[in-house]
Symmetry: C2
Subunit: 150 residues, 2 copies
DNA sequence: TATTGTTATACTCTATAACTATA
DNA sequence: TATAGTTATAGAGTATAACAATA
């Protein structure tokens, strides 16, 4: 029943395994509230960068544009976001969060906070900060959209 | 084009993102050599714990038994593993790596080693060790099969 | 009847390709 | 002609269910 040492000795393997585990937990938790991972990240994005166009949102979150359509549909149906046709280019839709959407975001945020607390529970506060710093260093190096600069 | 700070500030999010990225790279690299992630982990497992039954292998690697059948079929077709019917219980098949399988494992190992070097390149040697220790601490706490003990 | 390995089927997620309306 | 958003379709990957051999 024990995993090969060869795998456990790899940071890459542990990263994948812990990441998949956390993702699965988050998915399950969000699904109970009838949301997906994307609902959360779209709301979080629009909360910080309002009035993005659909193409911008999709590119930022590495989503397919056709995938985003369905996500936005379901958020719009619940009154959490609103689409606005751009007056300067009528092909474009800009998207914004509604007040209800912001309230929902707070709830989802709390759900994920709890999950993350569970995940990091084995570490001391100092170790949590060290881990985040190391992960951020890797993410910024490999993935510019995680970076502090634009 | 920048990801929400709310997400980047989360170790859980970074873990998922880095994990998915590394997994995708490993999949692409292995696919070029006509292997999958599972081929590698099955070979690695059998190299350390030979003569496991199919059920044991599937449970250890969290694979569906029916999924494992196809993986073993393709490894057997290439002469990298061999199935043996268990004499004490003729329902069971034990599985072992062949010499060719061991040679192939070395090659796959080198491929993943390189990928991992790329992943961890931004960190110093000391930071790499710190990161692995932190990840291992989390993995062992949440996932006994990663642990040192059985 | 229960279990091992196997085969066949269904489902979910994502990726690709067409379609419309605007530019 | 090219682009933004939308719709429809196809594919990979996985999960579920049924099946044959053996216990």
């Amino acid at each position: 029943m024990r995993l090969p040492r060869e795998l456990v000795a790899r940071s890459g393997f542990l990263l994948v395994r812990l990441g998949l585990r956390f993702k699965a937990q988050a998915l399950a938790e969000l699904a109970q509230a009838d949301f997906s991972q994307y609902h959360y990240s779209v709301l979080a994005l629009l909360d910080e960068q309002p009035q993005e166009t659909q193409a911008q949102i999709a590119d930022t979150l590495c989503l397919d544009r056709s995938q985003l359509v369905r996500i936005l549909d379901s958020l719009e149906d619940r009154g959490l976001i609103a689409r606005h046709r751009d007056r300067t280019d009528r092909r474009r839709h800009t998207v914004s969060v509604t007040a209800a959407g912001r309230r929902q975001l707070h709830q989802l945020r709390r759900m994920i906070d709890e999950l993350e607390d569970d995940l990091l529970a084995p570490l001391t506060g100092a170790d949590r900060r060290r881990l985040h710093a190391l992960l951020l260093q890797l993410a910024e190096a490999h993935d510019p959209s995680c970076g502090a600069s634009d």
